[in-house]
């Protein structure tokens, strides 16, 4: 009981509460500004959190993550531009509702559905993470190797042009993770004789470059995009009849979102797309979808918010990130000396309970903040891009520099930012590259340990049922996009004929 109470007492600490509030304000602010997502913000703030203890650092990062998922809906509904990619589907019904003069009602429904889904996913997180950790407690290096391969295989279906390109980007990340001294033999690899390279590439400047600078350069394509902003008179809570219409959609969105969030590398965007399609498929009012359906709005919003809690489950229980934001949080935790994985649940249970408490408080607090402050937060959509993005560069440079007070890190950050920009132009996503760099160390270590256990006989992997199951899932993850693509092409052909 003591660790449980210790964990909960975290949110009673004024400093932590203050950080949660700051995180909620930052997360909401950046969630409204198109292009600046939670991944970029958490990456930019990582250096800042290095001076904090792990729990306050997490209070800041997690509250940003939770509120960002909610806030993307505000600009999606009022401006028809999603504040974050996961709010993309929200535009489909949120903006038509706003155009009908029901912006306040749409925001009210989005806020309530988001909060309910957020709480639902945290409850699943509270129950599911310790269960998964207990299972993972039995994992040895072969199982961890197979699990990491599975985690990396899931990038095949995330954004980008094709699954092979995503996997190439992830493998490129794995290769970059080998730079530095090999921990077993002490031999230098790809260091070009530079002393600074012997410790390996520093992950945080790379993440800042990939997520902040790449997005900054992508925004240069959109400087002259003119958006029509719809004014909102007041936030309106859903009526009883609204609740009766949206409860099924909210529940379905919450379930689908949490499940997709748990899958490694899959995030809110996929969750909201799947939930929206499923709810539309089963709805009695199909024709309303895309023209201002409150069910569609509730499904999209509940799914992208519940993916947040879902994504935290594999991150903490297995050390495999559930989304790009949790990948950044994982890097932050590791840099703080906290090693996520099943042992964390045994060794530092109070830390896990603190995370539960922070996420629950963030979700509940956002309900009040969203209902009272949405009208004021919406004013942020008026901030000119010309002022915003140069400031992001300034922050990215200071953030990268402040880690080790090295200008080399800043140049590395810029190099990866420019690389990320050109990668996206050629259909490669930057998220798999980041995941490859983050998971590279775990993959190599677990492979080497497995081979030691197996006395260099790789066929022994086949005698480990859990590892075998993960390999099977990995193959499924890699080949499922090809299979569904083939099915779609066949269906198109038969429709044409």
């Amino acid at each position: 009981m003591t660790p449980f109470l210790e964990g909960l007492s975290v949110v009673g600490d004024p400093w932590n509460l203050c950080l949660i509030l700051i995180g909620l304000l930052i997360g909401t602010g950046i969630g409204i500004l198109p292009g600046i997502g939670a991944t970029m913000t958490t990456a930019l703030l990582l250096p800042f959190t290095m001076i904090m203890e792990p729990v306050p650092a997490l209070a800041l990062l997690l509250s940003i993550y939770c509120s960002n998922a909610f806030a993307g809906a505000i600009s999606a509904i009022l401006v028809n531009v999603p504040g974050s990619s996961s709010a993309m589907v929200t535009c489909l019904d949120g903006y038509p509702l706003a155009k009908k003069g029901e912006a306040g009602r749409a925001l009210g429904i989005a806020t309530v559905a988001s909060t309910l889904a957020g709480i639902f996913s945290v409850i699943v997180f509270i129950i599911g993470a310790p269960l998964l950790a207990r299972m993972a407690y039995e994992f040895g290096p072969p199982e961890y190797f197979a699990l990491t391969v599975f985690g990396l295989s899931m990038v095949a279906s995330i954004s980008g042009e094709g699954s092979a390109k995503n996997l190439i980007a992830a493998a490129f990340g794995l290769l970059l993770a080998t730079v530095g001294i090999d921990y077993v033999t002490g031999m230098e690899r790809f260091t070009f004789g530079y002393l600074e390279m012997t410790g390996g590439l520093k992950v945080i400047p790379i993440l800042i470059g990939l997520f902040a600078i790449t997005e900054l350069l992508r925004q240069t394509h959109m400087v002259d995009v003119v958006v029509e902003r719809i004014a909102m008179k007041a936030m309106k809570l859903p009526s009883w009849s609204d609740y009766k219409r949206i409860w099924r959609a909210t529940l379905a969105g919450s379930g689908i979102g949490t499940f997709i969030g748990i899958l490694p590398a899959e995030g809110g965007t996929v969750a909201s797309l799947v939930a929206y399609n499923e709810v539309r498929r089963w709805s009695k009012n199909k024709a309303e979808f895309g023209h201002g359906s409150i069910e569609g709005l509730a499904a999209a919003e509940s799914a992208n918010n519940s993916a947040v809690g879902g994504a935290m489950i594999p991150t903490l229980a297995l050390g495999i990130p559930g989304s790009s934001v949790t990948a950044v949080i994982l890097v932050g935790l590791t840099a703080q000396g906290v090693r996520p994985g099943p042992y964390l649940f045994n060794q530092q249970p109070e830390f896990i309970y603190a995370i539960f408490a922070i996420m629950m408080v963030s979700n509940i607090a956002w309900l009040g903040l969203g209902l009272l402050g949405a009208k004021f937060f919406a004013l942020l959509t008026l901030v000119p891009n010309a002022l915003l993005w140069p400031s992001v560069f300034f922050l990215a440079v200071i953030g990268s520099y402040s880690l080790d007070q090295s200008m080399l890190d800043v140049w590395v950050m810029l190099g990866f930012g420019i690389l990320g920009y050109f990668m996206t132009r050629f259909g490669f996503s930057v998220v798999p590259l980041a995941l490859g760099i983050i998971l590279g160390d775990i993959l190599e270590t677990s492979l080497k340990r497995s081979m030691l256990i197996f006395e260099q006989d790789a066929t022994m992997f086949l005698e480990r049922p859990i590892a075998l199951a993960f390999f099977a899932f990995a193959l499924l993850g890699i080949f499922a996009p090809y299979f569904f693509g083939w099915l779609n092409r066949r269906r198109d052909k038969s429709l044409q004929s």
Binding site: F48, G162, K165, I168, Q405, Y482
Partner: protein, 169 residues
Amino acid sequence: MSRKRFGRRSPERGGLTALIYSDFTVAAVVAGFCAYAYYLSTRIGTVPDSLAQGMQPASYPQGVILVILLLVIGMLVESRTRETHIPEPVPALSYATMAAMIVSLALATWIDFFVGMIFFVVLCVPLWGMRRYLATFAYALVLAAVLYLMFGTFLRVRFPEGVLVNLLP
């Protein structure tokens, strides 16, 4: 506030652009990179078997390179059923912003950290369409002061020595 397009390029492109963005070109570049990375991996030292514990330091990166090559083949197979996607041209503003980033970082490295950052803001804000030069300069100064206070004073980050930084307390 005035917004003006900065050198927006024509969307019409010839066969060369299609060739650049084709998966075959991408595959060739990735394969070339793999060949170079493999060459570099052959220069990684070896250790006695007892120390290597069954896996030489170059074996793992070489395995990853092999996986990348297999995936390149997968990408080419995948591209047979997909049309080449040609993105819109890189706007001149992107190149200008990249150049401004490089110049400002060079200034920050060799002249003064804050001079480099202020230079970037003062240069980029008008490039991105906001032509209020005095207000931009004031904004750059305020931003630099706020970030210096936050990082230099509260987080005790020591910025590299330079013309401006040496004047600061």
